[in-house]
């Protein structure tokens, strides 16, 4: 009995010594799928241990620039200025897709239809009442109340906010000029809730409120969310299929470095408020073991790994994007040559 325990412990110690630890940090939005991936990958290659700290995209970008982690992760692409600071050029690799949906608390309302102009107007403060023609005209079947809209936004810096305001910046010139895009912005109106749960909580209990949350969050909490009109003029409900359709539409013009915003895409069935989330990988990895493991992981993630996405509420990458990424992964140099 004791011998058995000792044997197990010794085996554990050996395995621990053989394991190579790869450290990453960054975005919180994809954390559930990343931790699932690293766990599953560890089961398949026990010598590979990937440790991921979900400290936020900003932290991930800072740490990969300072070289304190082996890879970073971000919900928004890095700026040219930030990329120029990197000692070793960094690669953006899309991993999964997320969508942001408008949620609301309007008595008696079913699924509401929002035009881009209505969403921008609500958050700019130019549309202040629910029965404003800009909202009412696309929802003839719902009797909207003559009540003041209470817009709710994220108070914490977040990739969700980035996706939402990136979309508003594209559909509203006034938004682009007055507010702009970022993980935190200077909101013209509204209340701030901390985290998806903070926004959802405020919307749920404040009559006549509207907010935005990640699609996964709305699905998990069974909150009703609105359809949004896309470029092609169709009102589309957010779903894994309509989000992948948005990515597919964008894949045709995918830039070589994958830094692309896919909000407000073309495509009949594309949901317009969606985005990739990226891993930030150095193009040269000096440490042989770490480099080999990261490349193996990326290969696996682009293949079998994608099948875990939809179960966790993320839209998988379209095949066209995966093919492009495989080529990019091959260009990662491993070793100190």
């Amino acid at each position: 009995m004791l011998l058995g325990v000792a044997g197990v412990m010794a085996a554990g110690a050996l395995a621990a010594r053989a394991a190579t630890l790869v450290n990453g940090a960054g975005a919180t939005f994809p954390y559930p799928i990343y931790s699932k991936w690293f766990d599953e990958f560890h089961k398949r290659s026990p010598e590979a241990q990937i440790n991921y700290q979900s400290i936020g995209s900003g932290g991930g970008i800072r740490q990969i620039l300072e070289g304190t982690v082996d890879f970073g992760a971000s919900d928004g692409p890095m700026t040219d200025e930030q990329l120029a600071q990197a000692k070793i050029p960094l690669l953006h690799l899309p991993t999964v897709l997320g969508a942001v949906v408008p949620v609301y608390n309007v008595a008696g309302a079913g699924t509401l239809h929002f035009t881009p102009e209505a969403l921008a107007g609500i958050y700019l403060g130019t549309i202040t009442r629910w029965n404003d023609p800009a909202i009412a005209s696309t929802n003839p079947e719902t009797k909207l109340p003559d009540a003041a809209i209470v817009p709710v936004h994220r108070s914490d810096g977040s990739g969700t906010t980035y996706i939402f305001v990136d979309y508003l910046s594209k559909v509203s010139p006034e938004w682009a000029r007055r507010v702009g895009r970022g993980t935190s912005v200077n909101w013209p109106v509204g209340l701030g809730g901390k985290g998806n749960e903070g926004v959802a909580g405020l919307v749920k209990q404040t009559p006549d409120a509207i907010g935005y949350v990640e699609l996964i969050y709305a699905l998990q909490t069974k909150q009703p969310y609105g359809d949004v009109r896309n470029r092609a003029g169709h009102f589309v409900a957010a779903s894994l299929a309509s989000v992948t359709a948005a990515a597919d539409a964008a894949a045709a013009n995918m830039p070589a470095d994958f830094r692309v915003s896919i909000t407000d895409p073309d495509g009949r069935d594309a949901y317009p408020i969606a985005s990739f989330t990226w891993l930030l990988i150095p193009t040269r990895i000096a440490d042989q073991d770490k480099g080999r493991i990261l490349r193996q992981f990326l290969d696996w993630m682009l293949g079998e790994g994608q099948s875990f996405s939809s179960g966790l509420g993320y839209a998988p990458l379209p095949a066209s994007v995966i093919a492009l990424e495989r080529k990019a992964v091959e260009r990662i140099q491993v070793g100190s040559s």
């Binding site: 900003g58 914490d156 810096g157 993980t183 209340l191 701030g192």
Partner: protein
């Protein structure tokens, strides 16, 4: 308390302090390995324990000062970019725009001070009343378990207060304040709209959080007032209320003030619970019901996603300002404590 008392040398036993000192639990680090040395040195005039103890204690004492200085220095240096860009205007401008990189901390400073003031205004009467009740009115066998319960409140994590706040307090505040704003909305302080979240709600949450500090410390202070003081007042014909008001409270004033300072420090720095119920809007509004923002909350919210250097630097400067305000408020509070009763 009891342990320390047991370790005191008996009267007249001072000639052999080394022996009397031995069972004391005071610094086990220094005391134990040094015993053989003590014996060898003859145990008379010079003992190695004294300088070692003095050195250690001084070291620990200075390290507290050192940590404070290091924090201030780091905040000062890391905020260099923001200080160079915005200068003193950082303190009195009101725009907080992470996209166009314009930062002014005035609404945050205002929100921090206003919510803390509301919290104190609500917590001091409650806390003091509870402390008087526990120390002066209730028999000890009732007061002790009650005090224990109140002290438990200190250990509740602030995120729990925040959750209770968002699910219980916020709807209650909305229900309560909506008719007030409808009736008295012409007074700017009570103007609508009422969201449930806002400055007043944050103040109420803070009050709940800091009441235990005030109760726990004030009760100890009240219990420390010598019984002879009360007896004298009662013997002069004072009622219980007069005794408490004219004898016990003045005697304990500085200790009570100390408990309030402690509570204020916690209120100024409180982060999670406040950010969950304040509405997080960097604006200065006259109404108590309006959403606001505090310095600690903006740090907690935006620090992780701050990518540009100037943005990060501005957030660190907010930390520096908060540090400075805490220092000033604490110093002011110390000045307010009347020195003649400072020994109570």
């Amino acid at each position: 308390m009891e342990q320390a008392g047991a370790a005191l040398p008996p009267p007249g036993g001072r000639i052999r302090p080394a022996l009397a000192f031995r069972p004391a639990p005071v610094p086990p680090l220094a005391a134990r390995p040094l015993e053989p040395l003590l014996v060898r040195s003859g145990g008379r005039r010079w003992r190695i324990g004294d300088p070692v103890f003095r050195g250690l204690a001084a070291g620990f004492g200075l390290s507290v000062v050192g940590i404070t200085l290091v924090i201030a220095l780091v905040l000062f240096r890391k905020s260099a970019a923001a200080r160079a860009t915005f200068g003193w205007a950082f303190l009195w401008t009101s725009v907080w725009d992470p996209v166009f990189l314009r930062f002014g901390a005035l609404p945050l400073v205002y929100g921090t001070l206003a919510t803390s003031a509301i919290g104190l205004a609500l917590a001091v009467p409650f806390g003091l009343g509870a402390a008087i009740c526990l120390a002066e009115l209730l028999p000890q066998r009732v007061a002790d378990p009650l005090t224990f319960l109140i002290e438990l409140l200190v250990a509740v994590p602030s995120v729990v207060y925040g959750l209770v706040g968002i699910f219980v307090l916020v709807p209650a505040m909305r229900a309560l304040t909506t008719p007030i704003a409808a009736t008295f909305g012409w007074i700017p302080l009570l103007a609508g709209p009422t969201y449930g979240v806002g400055m007043l709600t944050a103040g109420v949450i803070l009050a709940v959080m800091i009441v235990p500090f005030i109760v726990a410390v004030s009760r100890e202070v009240l219990l420390a007032v010598p019984q002879s003081q009360r007896d004298a007042a009662l013997a002069l014909g004072a009622t219980r209320w007069e005794t408490v008001r004219q004898v016990v409270l003045p005697y304990a004033r500085s200790g009570i003030a100390g408990s309030v300072v402690l509570a204020l420090a916690r209120a100024l720095g409180e982060t999670m619970a406040v950010t969950m119920v304040i509405g997080n809007r960097p604006e200065i509004a006259a109404s108590l019901f309006a959403p606001a923002y505090t310095m600690a909350a903006v740090l907690a919210n935006e620090f992780t996603e701050a990518t540009s250097n100037l943005y990060l630097s501005a957030l660190i400067e907010v930390g520096l300002v908060l540090f400075g305000i805490t220092l000033v408020v604490n110093a002011l509070a110390r000045l307010l404590i009347p020195p003649e009763v400072g020994r109570a």
